[in-house]
Symmetry: C2
Subunit: 489 residues, 2 copies
């Protein structure tokens, strides 16, 4: 029965657990009386398969089997781990534990409750020492946090076992050492949630406005640092102590509905300051700020892909900047007899290694962006691609000439070596100022997106590409074009 | 005086404003009586230069000039925009406005206050209609959110002007339509912050534990969706209405210190449900879940770079998986006479375009990872690199043979074509199952990291690379090796 988990309750949380366990190689037995449970679990598994396996840089083990059971007894018999994920009603959960205990007296029972005290959950159990809370966060298959909480009667060894077990599922166990309603994460979330409900109730803002107030600002910070460390850095050189001195008086002001607040005694301020220092040790505030900024750049840039949230804001700014910089200038306003400016950007922090050098793959990223711009210039833009045609890269040859660091402004200039029929042969040169950093030779074919086979481009594109090719025909063939890897220089 | 901003107050917020304006091409005049202000502003500018310019895919305009002024009058004279960023004390701010009004009667005065009502700020002004709140978030040069709030006497045109102006700085203006203490974002943050202070005060958790309770779970969601949309999706097929039915009763439980909560009347539940539906329109909940998951994958993977937060959790999981999958198996346990397995992973969502195809640059990312693994196998690992030697890629040739989608398991097998002296010549083949997707031919040179010039590797590395080279000498030369771009097949 090694690596078999029983899950009682197959909703959003139970289904999410099933997906995380199964995709990490566990066999799963699931019970839920809902006639739709099987369909919902399969949909959850499909969603998890789409997202989780690629989260890691190494493939997950082969997927475990997911079996739907008709009774709790069938699901939990002989299981060493039983996950409870039924509705948040104490009597419902206690009734489930009684059913489990009728057939299983030894397995760890891990409740997914968002905030009911484990001491209450285990109060009527025959073998209460095996009950723990293991509280996950939706989507359970992606978010790493799991809060572990013991009740008064819980065997501490169960918490230690659980730490190892959930870490093996790629999760981040957080042992909540003091038992309290709502534990840690939900107390913090619940405070924000209750305040949000007041703002809705009072007509101060809409749901969409309240969400914008988080996702474009504080939420970006919270993805990498909690409130304590965030404010520790916002306090500038004085850290958390300066923050408390500055904003402590606000605690007496009606900046939320929560007006019962702790007194900021000297002892309390010292304790909080010490804890923030300890948390950050051995990093200096300045080092932490650099790390925070690099994380923020990475997070915001990752949101570009879906043109969502802060990523959409940056994209809009990009369009504005491209117009101003002339990157977006159409062909008929350019001197076609010279290589065309296709990229003008600064090397971002998320393109570099820990030493600040641009990563190997990002050279191709920049050349790929240059190719995309070249395609747009000749009319192969989003509308054209939506109509069913595009260029696919068949071959690429990159030469790394010199190094470049984060923060450097780079430009890519693009020469068309050939552009007739289905073929487009490009030569990109990447510069920082006058310094040549790399060259990229790219051979592309126009394809039909329906058949994925080579096809002729539209007459308009053929004409535009032809005009550039002809205008640049007099340029010297670049040094290095047509070169094979390792050939003598 | 176009594109000149005056900033009164040069602390964390005022300095952050100076950096955002200057890096977006504005001239900045700054006043702060702190003798350290100039140094602090320069440090803030340096931090901003490191992070902001690369956030966009197009370079920012040339940086504006930053001038430190000795008086408020010198800073604000003739300025059309005056940013106030002095401490959160009403009388201090009002005194600053009086100084401003003595020399400037027309410019918009934008207070950075975190929560003081603009009606109070403007109460003693001679020309109060030009005062607005424009509340940013630290670090001001990176986070897009700016809350715009009008006081009772504010000219609505000032808010409209501000929306355009801050959007031009790459920011996301959020107009808080109803004037309330703490506005929107800080009311929500403040609720969480007050709860956190209670948990510290009561000894329930440390600062570090409270931060973990956010950054590994809810914070990852908040970087892309606020609480309303997050819970709308957590409600499963029933959305926010199901969520309120499930967790509404918890509002009566002591899950936070904030016990004064709105009643969940039917009307209120309907209103909140309607607003959540409207916010998500026209996307279905299932589409939003996909988008959320792709964002989460991107955010978590972006945190890998610094081995931080949820990114560190995934890295730890990777090491565990690499051991289990044999990817990390040392050379002396492998059959060296065949190409070596160097990558076994699933194509992640953040490696693909909107159609789910793997992006061009990610082929090189995977081949670069294969090269890194090959380096580790021959002993060029983190310790060796820290000692001052490494391999740099000089040339790369990629052939794209077939397409691959997100979710596909890919493997890279690596053949050593040559490996003597400073040179390492690798041939990577990428497969999905038996299907060849791409080949990568890579020529690397061993370099001294001190001189950045070619140098001999350690004897141990030379021996290990030599052993692989010799063992694979009998393998056929791969089809396509030595090929130049565009050469006939």
């Amino acid at each position: 029965m090694q690596n078999t988990v029983a899950i009682v309750g197959g909703g959003v949380i139970g289904g999410g657990w099933a997906a995380r366990f199964a995709l990490n190689g566990w066999d799963v037995r699931i019970f839920d009386p809902d006639p739709q449970a099987q369909r919902k679990t399969q949909e959850m598994l499909a969603a998890a398969r789409r997202a989780l396996p690629g989260l890691t840089d190494v493939a997950l083990p082969p997927e475990g089997a997911v079996q739907h059971c008709d009774t709790i007894a069938e699901a939990v018999t002989d299981c060493a781990l039983i996950v409870e994920a039924v509705p948040e009603r104490l009597e419902v959960k206690q009734a489930v534990y009684a059913e489990i205990e009728a057939v299983n007296t030894a397995g760890i029972i891990a409740s997914s409750t968002s905030g009911i005290m484990p001491s209450d959950l285990q109060a009527k159990m025959t073998h209460p020492s095996r009950l723990i809370v293991a509280h996950p966060f939706n989507p359970v298959y992606l978010l790493p946090l799991v809060e572990l909480v013991a009740g008064k009667q819980t065997d501490p060894a169960c918490i230690e076992t659980a730490k190892t077990l959930y870490a093996g599922l790629g999760m981040q166990p957080l042992h909540c050492r003091v038992e309290i309603e709502g534990f840690l994460s939900d107390r913090l979330q619940e405070a924000l949630w209750r305040e949000a409900l007041w703002l809705l109730k009072d007509g101060v803002a809409t749901a969409e406005e309240l969400d914008a107030a988080i996702a474009y600002g504080p939420g970006l910070r919270w993805a990498q640092m909690g409130t304590m460390q965030t404010f520790h850095l916002a306090g500038g050189e004085g850290g958390m102590r300066a923050m408390l001195a500055m904003f402590g008086p606000c605690l007496k002001w009606p900046w939320t509905k929560l007006m019962d607040v702790p007194d900021l005694t000297d002892d309390f301020v010292e304790m909080v300051g010490d804890q923030c220092d300890a948390q950050s040790h051995p990093r200096s505030p300045r080092d932490l700020e650099k790390l925070r900024d690099a994380n923020l750049v990475g997070i915001i840039r990752s949101l570009r892909a879906a043109n969502w949230g802060a990523g959409a804001t940056v994209r809009a700014h990009d369009r504005h900047l491209a117009d101003a910089a002339g990157i977006a200038a159409p062909l008929d306003t350019r001197d076609l007899s010279k290589p065309l400016l296709t990229v003008q950007r600064v090397v971002p922090l998320d393109w570099t290694d820990y030493n600040g050098h641009m990563n190997e793959a990002k050279y191709l990223q920049a050349f790929g962006d240059a190719t995309d711009r070249m395609m747009e210039l000749i009319g192969c833009d989003a509308d054209y691609i939506a109509s069913g045609g595009s260029y696919f890269t068949a071959e690429t040859h990159i030469r790394h000439i010199d190094e470049v660091h984060a923060g450097a402004m780079i430009q890519v200039h693009t020469q068309v070596l050939a552009g007739t029929g289905k073929k487009m042969h490009l030569w990109h040169e990447m510069y920082e100022g006058d310094r040549l950093l790399a060259t990229g030779e790219h051979f592309l074919l126009h394809v039909s997106l329906a058949t994925r086979r080579p096809s002729d481009p539209s007459a308009q594109i053929a004409a535009a590409l032809g005009a550039v090719t002809q205008a640049q025909a007099g340029l010297a063939r670049p040094d290095g074009a047509g070169r094979a890897v390792g050939a003598p220089r």
